[in-house]
Symmetry: C2
Subunit: 501 residues, 2 copies
């Protein structure tokens, strides 16, 4: 390591490889020759005290000098390095925990130690995409993970992240497992709960397989990447916050696994429970309401699997000492009108501002969830949570609290529409009898959501509603014309997303 | 597509990304802006009649002009494009077969149509590494694939590749499922069988999880990447060949899946059977002997799983009309002395040349397998195959045939040793009671095998052999000093690879 030939000088090429650390080295650089590095070798790149693990791409041209190396943009960021810095590059030791992953692939049960090693290695960035995908897949599928394994996985995730301490005795939290487009209750529930005097330091994730996560929606209106200290300051002032969990690194392994789950469009039961509850535990929650929407095209499709999931949630809740209430809600159709960050933000503001044209379903569901939290924490007597939540919303106290929280987090911005849009027109008259959430979600994603904040769908109909020929069923939005056309073509090819009889 | 703004000009950057097609485009290129392309978007790149699917990396610097694009080296090769060519880049349509992969991840049984679509999309290069890894993993593990699914998977693989026709009625073949270092019987069996007057057009694979595949070993001595016509010419002349299966594209999907299995060090039962038998069927085999080594650290560890695997092999054999004989062999220790392409080639020549110091275990096993083929095809009466095989080897007829086959394939080269080596010395005296194949294999791979042809291990001991303090247990070879040290360190850290009592 001390020898001069191990030092290469960084030169930025400016290549954005998304989340993967790539290191670029010349085929004839002294290290490639002496160490036998080849394209796809996984190596450790050190600069001063910091190091990252990266995949090697070999430069076969004059793009770099033999004594130079480069990194993809994310690699530069994660290493905290700049042009001209000196780096040392060494072999990555064989990853011992991969033996456990292989064992899991072959269907064996793993112990707590195995999950700890796997999750520790993942959070250190040692796993390649192929290895991450294999781990995610091996833990998916009915019966693949025993209850005890889900507990071990959750504990392993908690142990690799930070844990936030709060002065309050009761810390409320909520989580919806998702799968329903537009189901954005959190930004309404949090200000209701905080204005009731409870402490609710809410962290949310970005979208995994959906067109928008709560963090994506909140980011339209305020700053969400708060560090732990910033978050504590906001909560001390307002009793609640609406932050992005990824920025506080509550469960760094989970943040990495979620990228792969997104690419696969897979969200397994065990990963889901471990992901949700490890973040609740790390955020210091003592009481949490878990909302499971059930419906034929929701994430959970039958009452049977909903009950199973509830049991596993409660089992882990007991193991990690969080007071849980699992509730089932209607997952048969989108909630609210907007699908996509900006469009969902507009729905939220409409409810909080008590506008005349408010999406009633979103309002009703938010009050339900808020009521459950108020009762679970003892803030309201059993059966009285509903009235209290309704009052806090109706009087505008929740709205004032929402704006106060946004301002405490940095600022409040009004959401706007995307520049390009197109209406999908009904070709017949009749009653809406079925809505396929999955096709709608995919269309919103093809339009650019969640990365394109203003992309998505405004959905104009609901189950049981009468539609006339020529009515707009939905309006698709996108920030680029090509992407809008692409998503619109997809919807036209899948008319089965809506049944009108 | 016709519009000028969709055309970008290729400029070679010279980046070797191993097997992944990467396309590089400027963040502000007209296509990125109009189509909403982002880093990690999967796109179709067209040049004239040809197209490939590639993953986008976004150039955030002046490395390219906005009207330019580049590809990784493998992308240029696969597209058959050069500097200055004009390309069109479009969105990849959503891959419908991924819904079946997700269903498999969740543990469901898939039908023949689903496997056909998946394998067709894989062989067209539509799947990303993450998606391939998920498919491989979802098909692994005991009980994950029903017998009927293995048949469907095999048929799908056969249907996406080429099938070779032969004038002979009986086409012999053999396959060893591997897992035993140095177990290189094929280059000995093929010339025995061919010199008996049978037709044996053998194609072999490169290493999946081992330090050497038969194709890697043969490549040390002759040309193995023969096209179908070259192969037919060699077989017409000599009655047999020893070619690389990947070059004749007998099962293109399998060639892609094997890359992922190698990265995961996983070789599942269903993929294994489909891989082996799809290639036998495509190669036109009518009779085949399948060799399953069984031992505590072999790929198959118990007689129970060996029996299960045999049953599945036979089931698929009947379904695709190949006359199979499955035999179990000793998998408790390495066969021969060399582990790694060049070192194994030396063992093979030693057996074929009837040298005095011949590795007896390799000789014995090769004769056994050859005898099974001679009897299965009716070339020898039951129980008489052994004598015939022994005679063909002993008289030098098999060696003459081997050299004739090599020459017909292009040339014969004598294998040589790597420039760097190091002996591992025994620290005690006693009898060898256990050898861990897996640790030995990994050490040979860390030394550079199979890509570094001369890297590997010469293993000097066997089970039951008396070792004295100061004896060399093995000699490790590598073409680079750094890699040699790395592999040697690994062995020193894992003394449990050998038990001396």
């Amino acid at each position: 390591m001390e020898s001069g030939k191990n030092n290469l000088t960084l030169r930025k090429l400016g290549i954005d490889s998304y989340t993967e650390n790539i290191v670029y080295m010349r085929f004839d650089c002294p290290l490639c020759l002496s160490e036998g590095f080849k394209a796809e070798t996984r190596v450790v790149v050190r600069s001063g005290e910091k190091s990252i693990i990266a995949t090697l791409n070999v430069v076969t041209s004059e793009l770099l000098y033999p004594n130079e190396a480069s990194l993809s943009d994310i690699g530069f960021m994660r290493l905290g390095a700049t042009d001209g810095d000196s780096v040392q590059i060494t072999h990555l030791e064989p990853i011992e925990s991969l033996a456990s992953v292989r064992s899991k692939i072959y269907g064996n049960e793993l112990g707590a130690d195995a999950y700890f090693s796997i999750i520790h290695d993942i959070s250190s960035g040692k796993y390649s995409d192929i290895q991450l995908s294999a781990f995610v897949t091996a833990c998916s599928g009915e019966g693949r993970m025993k209850s005890e394994e889900i507990v071990s996985l959750t504990r392993a995730m908690i142990s690799t992240g930070e844990i936030i301490k709060w002065p309050e005795k009761i810390i409320a939290d909520k989580h919806c497992i998702g799968g329903i487009p537009g189901n954005r209750t959190t930004p309404i529930v949090v200000p209701i709960i905080a204005s009731a005097g409870l402490c609710i330091p809410k962290t949310s994730s970005r979208a995994i397989t959906s067109p928008a996560g709560t963090a994506d929606v909140m980011e339209v209106m305020t700053k969400v990447d708060l560090g732990i200290e910033e978050m504590q300051k906001v909560v001390a002032m307002e009793g609640g916050c609406l932050a992005w969990g990824g920025a506080v690194k509550l469960s760094p392994a989970d943040d990495i696994l979620i990228q792969v789950e997104r690419a696969l469009n897979v969200d397994s039961e065990a990963q889901l429970i471990a992901s949700v509850l490890s973040k609740k535990a790390a955020a210091g929650a003592t009481h949490a309401v878990i909302d499971i929407p059930v419906g034929p095209t929701a994430k959970v499709r039958t009452w049977e699997s909903a009950q199973l999931l509830k049991k596993e949630f409660e089992n882990v809740g007991i193991a990690i000492d969080i007071n849980l209430k699992v509730v089932f809600t209607d997952g048969s159709q989108p909630i609210g009108r907007g699908i996509g960050p900006s469009l969902e933000a507009m729905d939220i503001l409409s409810v909080l501002r008590n506008e005349s044209n408010v999406p009633q379903d979103l309002r009703k569901k938010s009050i339900e969830i808020a009521a459950e939290i108020l009762e679970l924490t003892g803030k309201a007597l059993p059966g009285k949570g509903h009235v209290l939540a309704e009052e806090l919303l109706h009087t505008g106290k929740a709205y004032q609290k929402f704006i106060a929280i946004c301002n405490a987090q940095g600022y409040f911005n009004e959401p706007v529409f995307a520049p390009f849009s197109n209406d999908l027109i009904s070709e017949k008259t009749g009653t809406v009898t079925m809505i396929n959430n999955r096709i709608l979600s995919l269309a919103a994603k093809l339009a650019g959501a969640p990365l394109d904040k203003e992309a998505g769908i405004v959905f104009n109909v609901h189950l049981g509603v009468k539609v006339h020929k020529g009515d707009s069923i939905l309006r698709l939005y996108s920030s680029s014309e090509g992407t809008l056309k692409y998503a619109f073509d997809y919807l036209n090819k899948h008319p089965e997303f809506l049944e009108i009889k």
